[in-house]
């Protein structure tokens, strides 16, 4: 709870700092604040978790773990912001504030114990993101991204709400516990309930960017400022899945016969659309957008194969994916600043001038591709194990096929960096970036080698 309070209050502080033109102090204050929030979150680790505030929220280990990873990811992303927001406009305080608002929403999302909280959390996050997508006010792409995201987001919210309403109509409550009890008590469930689940799936799949509700993802990711894209594709996606998982494992687990086929279909479509479309992209950023769709597909495994290990799988996968993505987006920012283009070609010959950057980016790509000894592999491994345990053999085989396709586009970056040459100057890598990259790469490899230290959470 303290975490949430800190994260909610912090932006207000920042707004004041912005008012008094203390731009230099924004980033340090934010990071310190987030670290404090992180500290409070961790302090509650393994405490006996009970729903609080009339069953509105529950800070259990699940929520703490996901709060932790989202906070850490946010810190890492914000560390990349040095100098980034200043280039957009002087309203940097607002940008930090809105990111933190969004994070507050995310904390709510991962800790909710009542559909009302879920809804509000999602909306806080989304509304902030609509804004963030459009902060490059004079950039047409950014505008377009914002509007597309907003329109479609609002539209999908309608379905989410309709779903929640139907659940409420059948169960008479928004509380997860009440709904679960109701499900257990009623073997013959009203069709309305099923429809409600279906619509909630639609709403949530939209938020996590699963096909066929993924269409906003590539456009919005591409159009948004890169740093915001990084935030969306890591923190937001993680939160989306945490919420998704929390809702389904808490309420709908007994009804898996009904919703697993839906999600199965969505998963398969998502995998194929994400991977195959990513194959032909010329823009690294847009490729990452499609790849994030495919990762959504892999993450859905945890929900399709709902079980005791699901939370853990999502956690490991999301962590791996997030830190690798941070490296990818971070490098993209640097390369984009130098070349003005986010095409694969702009990475040509990077290895010669920036061996460190090339190396960490390679690690990130390997991780995203799911090559062993990187965190990404462990994530996939956990997911596959879970799915196989539920006998989704075909799903896993499809996933394998997709993992193979994925290698091709991830390796395009590596190929560009190492095997193609281009005349280029050294990309300047600020110290903050180096720290973030080094840390992320290290963690990626560490998890890849010894996942036990995070796999035993939750």
């Amino acid at each position: 709870m303290n975490t949430l309070i800190i994260i909610s209050v912090l932006p207000i502080v920042l707004l004041y700092l912005g008012l008094y033109k203390a731009t230099k102090s924004l980033l340090p204050v934010t990071i310190i604040g987030l670290l404090a929030a992180l500290g409070f979150a961790i302090a509650q680790w393994n405490n006996v978790a009970l729903p609080i505030y009339h069953g509105m929220m529950m800070f259990d280990n699940f929520s703490i773990a996901f709060s932790g990873i989202t906070i850490i990811t946010t810190i890492l992303i914000l560390m990349l912001s040095g100098g980034y927001f200043e280039k957009i406009s002087k309203h940097t305080a607002e940008y930090y504030a809105i990111i933190l608002f969004s994070l507050a929403g995310i904390i709510v999302m991962v800790s909710f114990y009542n559909l009302v909280m879920l809804f509000i959390g999602i909306e806080i996050m989304s509304v902030s993101l609509y804004i963030l997508a459009g902060i490059k006010k004079n950039d047409f792409s950014s505008n377009e991204a914002a509007l597309k995201y907003f329109l479609m987001g609002a539209f999908s919210t309608g379905f989410l709400l309709f779903g929640i309403t139907l659940l409420y109509g059948t169960t008479g409550s928004f509380g997860l516990e009440a709904i679960r009890d109701w499900v257990i008590a009623h073997p013959h469930i009203d069709p309305m309930f099923y429809t409600g689940i279906g619509l909630i799936i639609v709403g949530l799949c939209f938020k996590v960017g699963a096909a066929p509700f993924h269409f906003w993802t590539p456009d919005v990711y591409e159009g948004s400022p890169t740093l915001i894209t990084a935030f969306m594709s890591t923190v937001v996606k993680t939160a989306g899945f945490a919420a998704f998982l929390r809702l389904f494992s808490a309420c709908f687990a007994p009804l898996s016969d009904f919703w697993v086929p839906i999600l199965l279909g969505i998963t398969i479509v998502t995998l194929f659309i994400g991977n195959i479309t990513a194959l032909y992209q010329q823009s690294f950023k847009r490729m990452l957008a499609f790849s994030s769709i495919s990762h959504a597909g892999y993450l859905l495994f945890a929900i399709v194969a709902l079980g005791s290990g699901s939370a853990n799988s999502v956690f490991v996968y999301a962590t791996a994916y997030s830190i690798a993505s941070i490296i990818a987006f971070g490098s993209l920012i640097l390369v984009q600043q130098q070349n003005g283009s986010d095409n694969f070609e702009s990475f040509n010959g990077l290895a010669k001038n920036n061996p460190f950057l090339a190396f960490v980016l390679t690690v990130a790509m390997l991780s995203l591709a799911g090559i062993p000894l990187t965190a990404g592999f462990m994530g996939k491994f956990f997911m596959f194990s879970g799915a196989l345990a539920k006998y989704h053999v075909w799903l896993v085989i499809i996933a394998v096929v997709n993992a193979i396709i994925a290698i091709f586009y991830y390796f395009r970056v590596i190929i560009a960096m190492y095997f193609r040459s281009a005349d280029r100057a050294e990309v300047l890598v600020p110290a903050y970036y180096k720290i973030v990259f080094g840390f992320s790469a290290l963690v990626t490899i560490l998890i890849g080698i010894y996942p036990d230290f995070i796999a035993r959470f939750i």
Partner: protein, 165 residues
């Protein structure tokens, strides 16, 4: 009872007009009417608080904001290019199918229990206030973050940057 059906008819009628009116301003005006019928629905269900909020917030604030924006950007004419017929048809068809699918999946076209006001005080401000500030205090507080964020964002986005542009 017939009041309900009459109002329901009006709701549907006006909402169709909302999406079919060529002029956006007319759309908004129809939307106001639609929302007004909703207010009547709330009153019918004795949800007085919602009726008032709907009246004030939606019709009074939100839709006026819409109207204001429309006026601001001079879209109060039939400027919208017409979508191709096929697209429209597909849209309407999709919407129609959605109705059928939703209704069918709800499987509730048949007669069911009537809505009975078990607790006539339910929708009164006093009662709702108790619930809101007791059970739902937490979301209430949290939604302030939402509004704050939206406020900051709206200001951020809508202001004209002096330097650029």
């Amino acid at each position: 009872m017939s009041t309900f059906y009459f109002i329901a008819f009006l709701s549907i009628f006006f909402s169709i007009l909302v999406i079919s009116a060529k002029n956006p301003v007319h759309s908004i005006l129809y939307l106001i009417l639609t929302f007004f019928t909703f207010t009547i629905h709330y009153i019918l269900m004795n949800a007085q608080f919602l009726a008032i909020v709907n009246f004030i917030v939606y019709m009074g604030a939100i839709l006026v904001l819409f109207l204001y924006t429309l006026m601001l950007i001079n879209l109060n004419k039939e400027s919208e290019p017409v979508k191709p017929f096929m697209v429209k048809f597909a849209g309407v068809f999709g919407g129609g199918i959605l109705i059928v699918a939703l209704v069918a999946s709800l499987k509730s076209l048949g007669v069911s229990n009537p809505v009975i006001l078990k607790n006539p005080d339910l929708g009164l401000v006093k009662n709702l206030g108790k619930v809101l500030f007791n059970e739902f205090l937490m979301p209430f507080e949290v939604s302030s973050v939402l509004l704050l964020s939206a406020m900051v964002g709206a200001v951020l986005l809508a202001t004209k940057d002096p330097k650029t542009a």
